[in-house]
């Protein structure tokens, strides 16, 4: 019986063919009174309209939280949440943090020991003792 190779089925990878943004929702919390929210409030007034128009797939909610530092909370499609406190930050710094939350995958941050990895199996195939050169003792 001839040996048949296993058929490889294309595995879906995000960004190959289609890309789904992992961030699904961003919540902006600010305080009307506190000075630590000044940059956040400026961001909401002047930068948020453009950001919202550029990212229609992200649900954005803006709500006050009196007496607390401003916080941006991102929710991801893997069910995780990430929150960044943006107290005393300028509007441009807040924009950078928003960009960070938008591009994040939602996974927990971990140290990459081996930065290069492949999802493709080896072209040599799985080693088998019954094929190839026969060793004779």
């Amino acid at each position: 019986m001839p040996l048949q190779a296993l058929r490889t089925v294309a595995k879906s990878q995000n960004g190959v063919g289609a890309f789904i943004l992992q961030c699904k929702r961003l919540d902006f919390h600010y305080c009307d009174w506190a000075g630590s929210s000044r940059g956040m409030n400026a961001f909401l007034k002047h930068h948020l309209p453009l950001f919202a128009a550029q990212n229609p797939s992200i649900e954005i909610s803006v709500s006050p939280r009196r007496g607390h530092h401003p916080v941006i909370r991102g929710q991801y499609i893997n069910g995780r949440e990430k929150a960044i406190c943006v107290r005393n930050m300028e509007a441009t710094e807040v924009a950078q943090k928003v960009e960070l939350l938008k591009t994040a995958s939602g996974e927990k941050l971990k140290r990459e020991r081996k930065p290069v990895r492949s999802f493709n199996e080896s072209v040599r195939g799985v080693w088998s003792p019954f094929h190839g050169q026969q060793y004779k003792i």
Partner: protein, 403 residues
């Protein structure tokens, strides 16, 4: 390779997130001019020739100049054939019976006395000191019709008694509505009598007290469907308003500052002792203001009278874009500063324009989140069934561990 390098740069720039969101028009134009994917030697014109043409003009620009000159000469010839009145200004009659003088056309090639100016030193500049002096020498006396400029900052009520030296009179919303009502009634009465709406800026006769009659006037859409009509309780009121305004501008009786101040004070009534039915005092314009001011003579009369009485100058776009009196009121009335971020106009606008943004004026609690996904009803039922408090965590046993 230059082409591929430039393309690479363009792609890289397109992919990178832009840290600077606003680039001025001049910089954008310059960037568009300087960005080329093709080599300079492949350009239609050599670089220096292009520069030369930009500085000294090309054949096309010379041709265009020549055709413009020909057109001007043709226009001059036509005018000559029509009546030959080259030295006397032509007069045209407008829609309202006003007469306009058309400036005389001068052909430089045919008029030997015409010398083209090389610098602007000796050219007539309208409004300059020299111009004013020249007019005064001819016997013309300049009479200002707007309130004199000076300090500003106080409110209407505390400044009016001696406010001859104020530049802009600050009025509350209620006072603005009263003043606009007063001006509009006067303009409508003038129009009804067949006089020009611009005459509303003419001086008033002493002790005329028009405001007593205008305040009780009703502005309603006219029965014909176009325009509005004004009605008075007594027919004599209309007559006295008309009589109060001088028919020709009297040279001997220019409107002085004190009379303008008295006019404003009387029209707005100090904002205290008012029993005005047409006034609401809110930011939103009352219904009687929803009438068209598309007629330029009415609109200009209105704007001029506002400047004359209050010193408030409206920007040109605001004037040209205002089609109703309500639009004009939106530009003049006092805007209240938003107290919270959620009330700011930017946040209100984003809520309307961006469908993926929700702006809340109060804190969002976990209960709101449960409500959004429709789970709160079940949670509430379960809490009630177990005899537990529905909201809050300050109850005995809230932190007890379940065994």
């Amino acid at each position: 390779m230059r082409t591929s390098r430039a393309a690479e740069q363009a792609l890289r720039v397109a992919i990178l997130p832009q840290p600077q969101h606003y680039v001025c028009r001049a910089c954008r134009a310059q960037a568009a001019r300087q960005f080329h994917t093709s080599n300079r030697i492949h350009a239609e014109l050599p670089f220096f020739k292009h520069l030369q043409q930009q500085l000294f003009g090309s054949k096309e620009t010379e041709q265009a100049e020549k055709s413009r000159e020909e057109k001007r000469e043709r226009q001059y010839e036509e005018l000559k054939q029509r009546g030959g009145i080259l030295h006397e200004p032509e007069v045209k009659v407008g829609k309202n019976g006003q007469q306009y003088e058309i400036a005389a056309l001068v052909a430089p090639s045919q008029t030997s006395s015409y010398v083209q100016a090389q610098t602007w030193d000796d050219l007539e500049r309208i409004g300059s000191e020299k111009w004013v002096k020249a007019r005064a020498d001819r016997g013309e006396q300049y009479v200002g019709w707007v309130m004199l400029a000076s300090t500003s900052g106080a409110t209407m009520t505390d400044a009016l008694p001696d406010s001859c030296r104020r530049s802009v009179v600050e009025l509350s919303n209620k006072q603005w509505q009263l003043l606009l009502h007063h001006i509009v009634v006067e303009i409508l009465v003038l129009q009804k009598a067949g006089r020009l709406p611009g005459e509303v800026c003419y001086p008033r006769k002493p002790y005329s007290n028009s405001w007593q009659h205008t305040r009780n006037a009703d502005i309603k859409p006219s029965a014909t469907g176009n325009g509005v009509s004004v009605s008075f309780a007594h027919a004599a009121a209309e007559k006295s308003i008309l009589q109060a305004i001088f028919t020709p501008i009297p040279l001997a009786a220019p409107e002085d500052q004190q009379s303008l101040v008295v006019e404003v004070r009387a029209a707005v009534g100090d904002g205290r002792d008012l029993v005005a039915k047409n006034v609401s005092g809110s930011n939103i314009a009352p219904p009687w203001m929803d009438f068209s001011i598309k007629d330029p003579s009415v609109k200009m009369a209105l704007v001029k009278r506002i400047i004359q009485l209050t010193g408030k100058r409206l920007p040109d776009p605001a004037i040209s874009l205002s089609t109703t009196l309500a639009d004009l009121y939106d530009h003049v009335h006092m805007k209240e500063k938003p107290k919270t971020l959620a009330e700011a106009p930017q946040m209100q606008r984003i809520q309307l324009n961006a469908p993926n943004v929700q702006v809340f004026s109060s804190r969002r609690t976990p209960i709101h989140k449960e409500m959004d996904i429709g789970r709160w009803k079940i949670i509430e039922e379960e809490l009630v069934r177990r005899d537990l408090p529905v909201t809050g965590s300050r109850w005995p046993g809230a932190k007890a561990k379940w065994l």
